[in-house]
Symmetry: D2
Subunit: 346 residues, 4 copies
């Protein structure tokens, strides 16, 4: 059972709710986010009085492991596992909507490049119809001796390029200490695959006022991925975008195995929008376009793409970076697919 308290509730009222629960034999775990949430397990009901106690905003009984991510509500507990209507999914980011029928495309270089190149890329990305610009300033690198990104300077460069072309900026944070810096420049805070289990970072992002794009861990199960999202949402930030980017398998013809099965599974279990990254999901630029089509046809709410005006000169991940004409083709095909499917009511 999850008891969500009202914003700014006094400690005294919290203590009374905790007391009520423990007196009935429950074990209580307190979560301090934007609101305080109490997770209670065990104990003997009935619990009917809880919802009426002072300071209590709502009570989710018989909830699943990830009640907030699943879109449970007090009046309408665990939803039947079926595709919820579009009106229940997704949210606004700036003037764009995600998860509500409109395709949300984010494209750009792996790492921030020089200002002139960023400007050329942002211009082309906007012209192709994308909603956002991606570019990494804090880079998670296997080797300590590899280039670790341009940091705040890079964020400023990417921010200017995005603003000039009306794009939302998506960029990664690797540590709680980077959040205050990043929120000054970034519209969507990305959590990389290597940080999906980093629960202190997830909690901290739960307190941010910006949406979070949460990549699936390299070998994370879908259940673990949803639990990571629940960390962010339970700490007060309901705007989480999930990003499928491929998992580790034995196959060597591709860098990762893009798990599009995750799309219908997530539709069933969550109200969160889902985007797909076919660049990391294949690791080879020749395969990106086909997999972008597949992602959209399987129900992706958007795409995250590594794109460059001169792919072979990209700072990093050149092998999986497509050029601008390919981006244009991807967007064109995605829209055609969506329109066709809308007509047959898929």
């Amino acid at each position: 059972m999850i008891v969500i308290l009202e914003r700014g509730v006094r400690e005294g009222l919290i203590a009374r709710v905790v007391e009520r629960l423990t007196a009935a034999g429950a074990r209580v775990q307190r979560l301090d986010g934007e609101r305080v949430t109490l997770a209670a397990s065990g104990g003997a009901g009935p619990w009917d009085d809880l919802a009426g106690m002072p300071g209590v905003a709502s009570v989710l009984e018989n909830s699943s492991a990830t009640p907030l991510v699943a879109g449970e509500t007090p009046s309408q507990p665990p939803p039947a596992p079926k595709n919820p209507g579009h009106e229940e999914r997704g949210f606004r980011v700036g003037e764009r909507r995600i998860g509500q029928g409109e395709l949300f495309v984010v494209a750009g270089p792996c790492s921030v490049e020089d200002p002139e190149t960023m400007e050329r890329i942002a211009c082309a990305v906007a012209a192709a119809g994308a909603a956002g610009l991606r570019a990494g300033a804090f880079k998670p690198r296997s080797s300590p001796y590899a280039f670790q990104g341009m940091g705040e300077e890079g964020l400023a460069v990417a921010h200017r390029a995005a603003r000039n072309h009306g794009l939302l900026l998506v960029s990664e944070v690797m540590d709680a200490t980077q959040i205050p810096v990043a929120v000054r420049y970034v519209d969507i805070l990305q959590v990389g695959a290597r940080n999906m289990y980093n629960t202190p970072l997830l909690r901290e992002l739960g307190r941010a006022r910006k949406p979070v794009l949460l990549k699936r861990g390299l070998s994370a199960t879908i259940e673990e991925w949803l639990s990571a999202a629940e960390y962010v949402v339970s700490a007060g930030n309901p705007r989480v975008i999930l990003c499928e980017r491929g998992i580790r398998t034995f196959e060597t013809a591709t860098r990762n195995t893009l798990d599009l099965n995750a799309l219908p599974v997530l539709r069933e279990r969550s109200r969160l929008p889902v985007v797909v990254d076919p660049s990391h999901g294949t690791g080879r630029r020749a395969y990106v376009r086909a997999m972008a089509r597949a992602a959209v046809a399987a129900g992706a709410d958007g795409l995250l793409l590594e794109v460059h005006v001169e792919p072979d000169r990209a700072f990093s991940d050149a092998a999986q970076t497509v050029d601008i004409p390919t981006l244009e083709a991807i967007v064109r095909e995605a829209r055609v697919l969506l329109r066709a499917l809308a007509e047959v009511g898929a």
Copy 2:
């Protein structure tokens, strides 16, 4: 280097070609299929005279590991890794074509059912626009104590149902001894995932006059899968259909992880048509429709689907078997997607 000899060539001529190769220091491996093929490695060229020797049909120099599957020809060696035109891919099966733009749908129960049920299923499958009926008579089962299929009797039942409705029959053979029986009833001989590495079976199928549907092994790399196809083709049977059916990973929300990345990879490396089995690829009927759409959008030439008039009463694999209305929706959506993509030239 691969030297393909003419059909019915005499042993004396073969010996002369072998002698020519070994005299130049090559190691020669002989393959006896419908035609005799010689694989030569090492040795010092030039080899220009080989193509003119009596009994030699063609010579593939500098060939890849799977030259026949890759569609190499003497005049036009290893094709550049790009999507070959439709006219080069695929082939006819009965009055249908596969791999040439037309969607090839095969649907039916996991195992052969009683004649009346088979008749009802075949009728509905044909009405939905499928080209083929699938139904297993020889079943690969984990346990020796499980039902092993109806054998020849089952093939006869399925054959009648397919014929009554103008459908091609697709059914699995597990052993070379089953081929002579199966070819009397079956239009396409299926090799199951558990037999993909069974090279004696593959060679024997190379001598069959029927197309072969070759499922990917449970954890086979794409390269190994193409090598398995090369076994069949090099033994004389060029009509191999590849079937992606999911691979084994750590994910438990689905039975397998459908690897749609394989579609663009196979387009690049092979001229063989590829169908996708979203039933085994997900293991859950609720996910089949979305993944069928994804497969078609990524370039699948067809779909293999577990379908039943009463899915919950299917003999086996009920959890992943869809009903007839779902089959109809899948076919409708697939056609809409293909038409839309054809219009934008994708």
Copy 3:
């Protein structure tokens, strides 16, 4: 429930038992091996009279999925999951015992080599204290153009070398048609990893009078592997040796990931002896010795090793083939470990 009939029982008696079972509502699956076995599921007991019916040898009620492999007996049904005593495990092979405390070492080249080299290897292998000689004559190869082994001629060469030095010969069969040839030369018939799911082959081996060494499939679960063994045993051949040889994972520093966890799991679930193949399990000769020690310490009943007098000149698998001094060190260390563990009662 498994009903094992007496050897050579008449059809009329079998029919009566089947009738008795189906009359009570059970579904019956008949297995014809050296003895006839009936697997019954469902139906309403009591079944007390079954054991007394003419032609019935024994009845295993409430059995596990792999009752014969688990060592269940009529009087003493599903054994508690614990390490059964040595007297219950293992069996004799020629004058050797396996699974009963004595280390069973099999070593030799990947493929049969020329007679002189085979003689040198067999001599060294016997001197090092091994019980068996391994050498492949029918080779499962990825490519149809690769050398497929020397066939019967190779078996004869290996047989002579083994006999000259008092070694048991272990060699692979890939197809039921190879069994009659192989049994004339081979003491233990090997099933390769690529054939673990080949149930027609497994059944046929159930009728052979020679022990079977069953390698784990490339990505087979332990449960599937035991089911494969149950195929052989239920068809009449109780002498199956399991061989762990590594599974497929994402790791690239080694060819496979040797799963030694399988050793305690198999001790718990089966009475069959288990040997470990650290050559395929690592794919690198530098790692073989350490993993041989680990296997013995974890409870392996024996080792299967790729060994050559001149490893770098081996026909195949040179990278994982160790030399004779390394074999000697492996045997010496294994014995020291076993003696030490015996002293502390491990």
Copy 4:
């Protein structure tokens, strides 16, 4: 090329070295740890003068990807890939040594328990001959609603129990902010599998004065794991202990697949000591003892074990927690194995 500068070198001298490198065309990446390190790639040598420049402590030319972890030295560059002698491996922790022949055993409950239970466990763990006590106070949990550990209070409880019995305390930190708290109580700072890629945390631990126990990521390759260690070492902390704890595979009979192949691979590539955690590596208490033996036989420098005086009452991970008599048996068997192997010079 790695240029390690002297401790406390002035910025002016650093700038001169950077200038020298960039003038020759190299790209330079600066690492600020306890010492400043410069990683240079590209550029045209010779570089002979570098070692003599003011402020330069040492220069590693032609270095591997993880030169510090590999034990490279200026005079003796990339060591031949073979087992380095014991004198080169390992280090002291308090009065204990690790990686130098002596078995380093750490045991204790998954989470810190009440003071009395901790006292009983510490007493038994010390009596069994262990060097360290493990107990988690900051717990990485999948669900935000699960108990997240006792925090600093737990560290204090565990610290007292460890001190009372002369044990080193090993406990996990999940975030850089927890390090200043943890170092007051803990002797070895653990990085959990879910944080292996958390490079900001790794860098921060490079500045700590305590040894670090670095668990392998859930699906990390050995190369990535060594790179994570290189992050810690290159930031100034040479005392890293690697801990193999199983990887994710398709197998379900065990929680993870313990990859003991990693032991000989790591011996070849690194000078760091390696311990094995058979508790997480199997997930089942019945398998822990056999796998502890295997780990020691394969060359593990130590063991990390989940142990409790009443395993079934453990707060967490009860299924994989062994009792005290089992711990005693494990230590006894490990010592017997080590002594036996030392006698034959293995």
